[in-house]
């Protein structure tokens, strides 16, 4: 159970850890949780299968949100950091599919504020049923975690 403190960074690892590389968001989040224990860093960390409207209430009290998700675009192991445009017009929020932009818009509408949000995506190689990351993606996890820490600690 995560306890959310006001004004702290929020890390959200997204994906399905039973779908091989789709679980990389969880792997990065778990790596960062481990880093927090070792270095006593202050950060709220969440792992989710998908974005849902309830996340708006914890996003609203964070000072920065980093969403980490797997991507099919690009070469396996390739990763990208994309600041979210908070000006994006929302579509309809569903119970099964909410985009980062929709979640940011919902947060702003309901709570009157939304912190800066960043989407970190890492290209996966294997999305078949399985509990392990592919070797190429597993190698990238420490690198991506370090990059996310740079965003958070900047």
């Amino acid at each position: 159970m995560s306890v959310f403190a006001k004004g702290r960074p929020l890390i959200i690892g997204i994906g399905n850890p039973l779908r091989s590389d789709d679980g990389l968001g969880w792997a990065v989040a778990e790596q960062m949780a481990l880093d927090c224990q070792i270095d006593d860093r202050e950060c709220d960390i969440h792992t989710v299968h998908q974005l849902t409207p309830e996340l708006a209430q914890v996003i609203a009290v964070a000072n920065l949100v980093v969403l980490i998700d797997a991507s099919r675009e690009g070469e396996p192991g390739e990763w990208r950091i994309r600041p979210l445009s908070l000006a994006t017009q929302p579509g309809s929020v569903g119970t099964h599919h909410t985009t980062p932009e929709e979640l940011a818009a919902l947060t702003t509408l309901v709570y009157g504020q939304c912190p800066p949000m960043v989407v970190v995506s890492l290209t996966g190689a294997d999305f078949r049923l399985g509990e392990h990351l592919s070797a190429r993606v597993a190698q990238s996890i420490p690198l991506v975690s370090a990059a996310v820490w740079q965003c958070v600690l900047r």
Binding site: P53, L109, Y111
Partner: protein, 473 residues
Amino acid sequence: MSQHITIDPVTRIEGHAKITVQLDEAGRVEDAHFHVTQVRGFEKFCEGRPFSEMPSLMARICGICPVSHLVASSKACDALLAVSIPPTAVKLRRIINLAQIMQSHALSFFYLSAPDLLLGMDANPAQRNIFGMVAEHPELAGDGIRLRSIGQQIIEMLGGKRIHPAWVVPGGVSEPLTAEKREQMLAMLPEAREITLRALAWFKRVLPQYQEEITSFANFPSLFMALVNDANELEHYDGHWRIVTSSGDVVAERLDPLHYQEFIEEKVENWTYLKSPFYKPSGQQEGMYRVGPLARLLVSERCGTAEADREREEFFSTYGEARTSSFFYHYARLIEILYASERMQVLLNEPDILNPRVRAHAEPNQLEGIGVAEAPRGTLIHHYTIDENGLMRSANLIIATGHNNLAMNRGVLQVARHFIKDAHITDGMLNRMEAVIRAFDPCLSCSTHALGEMPLHIQVFDAAGVLIDERLR
């Protein structure tokens, strides 16, 4: 020239389905069907698996109500073990089941149905969603998010995670409750009650605008079935079935859910993957019954908690005989959330709730086990048989939405006949066709996901099968 209207998929429900309407040559509605177009195969692919895996496997049926399957499946496994589980484990299972009802009802009411209720059935579909709702009533949207979150947090505190927790196990639960978690849960419940009472106050204010929907949304005589306790109060975990008519006459009571095959027949249709159960002694026509929150309120004589009973009494006295309209599933959902928050508070204050003895250990002692509980959408049945090695021979599941299948189909027909006067299609009419289904909050196995938006697709065919009108949104 007869025509055929198809609504595919039905939106803002859990799962995938379509509605078809057959018009006659004069443009009047001749027939209508609610088709469930996905097949899952859970009953089949679990054959040969160790029975102890069943709770975790069955929880994967649904991402919205996994706890309900976990509870019913574990109860079926308790029966295979032939154990009586520790009383504290029963209370803890009750709490997680009630938290599940709270979060699932909150999702149904605030996220899926409130946009219709707040913005109107004829509002622009592009605005009839949670964003349109926020623009119109930000406090209500915030309340919905918070209420669902409270239910999910309680599930996470007990089960370790919000979706697919593995804490409910054959023989009890895997870990006792800690004092710290109990205090955290107790601290959230007053807020849940306040939110629910605010939503109830709002809903009661807007209800008079929906007289036509109250009249036409699956508003017909049927049976209602639910579990009740020995005092005929609401019961979500144990107890016995009671069946009443729309006028409140008791058709059957003290039915043992373990003998469900004696009084429930499961009919199969060739146009849907959803089974159509009915009450066997009354036959298919007269034996159509409804389950879920409205049925639970109608079947029981009282809720058993103070505030929920006050709201139930007000609902019954205000709407009298009209209370059996399926439009009132929304009302019943709010009353049941209130009940859940009150009941969880009582359970969390039980003197033995922190007792560390929460699991009975045994090997299989019986080859057949049945588990029944009330899920958010109604009675849920898991029935397993195993071989001497504890491997699954068969599984039969009757899901709440299945119990409501006959009534949902009749409801679609009623709405279609009420609102379609000729072959002309309006968005408001289509939305009402979906909204009557949404009132039942069917869960058509949520783990079969659609990618991206789910468009509403309507096609009108003439008698020769030629497409003469089509709409996409």
